[in-house]
């Protein structure tokens, strides 16, 4: 047995963790070997020294109460946080969701029923299966050698409604089916147009 092995055995013997089958052999050695006895004495002195430092006198019942209260406080805080969420965040979230639903509903309605240009003079509403808006622009006419620059512009629904039978009465008048048309006016004509409706 090496010195290290002897010290390890003595350490376990002192702690009461030395296997039974090794105990009697070590005890025999301890009675005969002064060096082994010295190691045991040193280890015991160290253990006594380490254990000589007492623990603080704690009022355990109060400490348990204090820990329990701290847990309660933490739980209350969680409930309050959840309640705040319910009170402020949830309504705000619901409002946003409701706004989104309204916007989607309006968009769906517009897509389903098309856009109407009721405020524009000259527009007509025709209702069969779908509401169809037509805007007829009687363009400015100018006599030029090659004939009038613009004689007529007709705009009708495009996309899936373009082939709707309800549009048949207007078939001859439809010149184009653009996906998007922007009509805007922001400038004075560069020269006066006699007889122009604009």
């Amino acid at each position: 047995m090496t010195r290290d092995e002897l010290e390890f055995s003595i350490s376990q013997y002192l702690d009461g963790t030395l296997p039974e089958d090794q105990r009697s052999a070590l005890e025999a050695r301890l009675t005969a070997d002064a060096d082994a006895q010295a190691i045991l004495t040193e280890d015991r002195a160290l253990t006594d020294l380490l254990r000589s430092d007492p623990l603080p006198e704690v009022r355990w019942d109060r400490l348990a109460e204090s820990i329990s209260s701290a847990i309660d406080e933490q739980l209350d805080e969680r409930v309050a946080r959840a309640s705040r969420w319910m009170r402020f965040r949830l309504p705000a979230g619901l409002a946003v969701a409701a706004s989104a639903l309204i916007a989607i509903g309006i968009a769906a309605h517009l897509l389903m029923h098309g856009r109407s240009a009721t405020t524009n003079p000259g527009s007509q509403m025709t209702s069969h299966h779908v509401v169809v808006a037509t805007l007829t622009v009687q363009g400015p006419q100018e006599d030029v050698p090659g004939g009038p620059v613009i004689t007529d512009i007709s705009i009708a629904a495009g996309g899936s409604y373009a082939k709707d039978s309800s549009l048949d009465p207007y078939a001859d008048e439809i010149d184009s089916r653009p996906a998007r048309i922007v009509i805007a006016s922001g400038m004075e004509p560069d020269r006066p147009l006699a007889g122009s409706p604009f």
């Binding site: 702690d15 430092d53 009022r59 204090s66 820990i67 329990s68």
Partner: protein
């Protein structure tokens, strides 16, 4: 023959509900079950933390933090019957990483938690405040010096040896629980104790 110290502390006698049962009930929101676990392990928690921090105030704060952390993480405990070892791991981690930051920490009412003599010792610095509690000034100084030397020596040990000495040699906690805390085998705990003891004998040769 030396007395057996293999499992000197049994946290749950047979007549009482086991740790595993209490953990299960606590997870199902039974606060009284967790309160029972607190009563069962608070002494161990304070003792281990105090041995690592040498200050009762800090040890009590760490103990409270450890139980709070344990309560909120209880559902993550894979082996409910290993609650003691798991809790001691939380306590030792919090103690080893403890930094004094009074401004951000909740002050515990120490006068209420400590005995009258001990409540006056909470501001002691350097070494063990308890060894310095003697009324005799000479013995008090000797106690202070010895406590300081012990703490210094313990701090020089590698972490696992230090924890093994604190939990096994000083606090006499069950080896199995220490093995769970250190995440190693029972044989490894014996080895850490032996290595730590060997190093401490060298460091404290002049006071033994």
């Amino acid at each position: 023959m030396e007395p057996s110290a293999t499992d000197p502390v049994d946290a749950a006698p047979a007549s009482l509900p086991s740790d595993g049962e209490l953990v299960g009930r606590a997870i199902r929101s039974d606060r009284s079950a967790f309160d029972e676990l607190v009563r069962r392990y608070q002494r161990q928690a304070v003792a281990v933390s105090y041995r690592l921090l040498s200050n009762s105030n800090d040890a009590l704060e760490v103990t409270q933090d450890a139980f709070l952390k344990a309560y909120t993480s209880l559902a993550t405990l894979q082996k409910p019957e290993a609650f003691g070892g798991w809790l001691m791991r939380i306590v030792s981690n919090l103690s080893l990483n403890y930094r004094r930051s009074r401004r951000t920490r909740t002050q515990l009412p120490l006068d209420d938690l400590l005995g009258p003599a001990d409540a006056q010792q909470t501001d002691a610095v350097g070494g063990s405040e308890w060894m310095a509690a003697s009324a005799d000034p000479v013995r008090k100084l000797e106690g202070q010096e010895l406590g300081r030397r012990l703490q210094e020596a313990l701090k020089q040990l590698p972490e696992k040896q230090r924890l093994a000495i604190v939990m096994f040699t000083i606090e006499q906690l069950p080896q199995k629980q220490i093995a769970q805390t250190l995440d190693c085998s029972v044989e490894a705990v014996k080895w850490h104790v032996f290595q730590g003891r060997k190093k401490l004998k060298e460091l404290l040769k002049d006071v033994m």
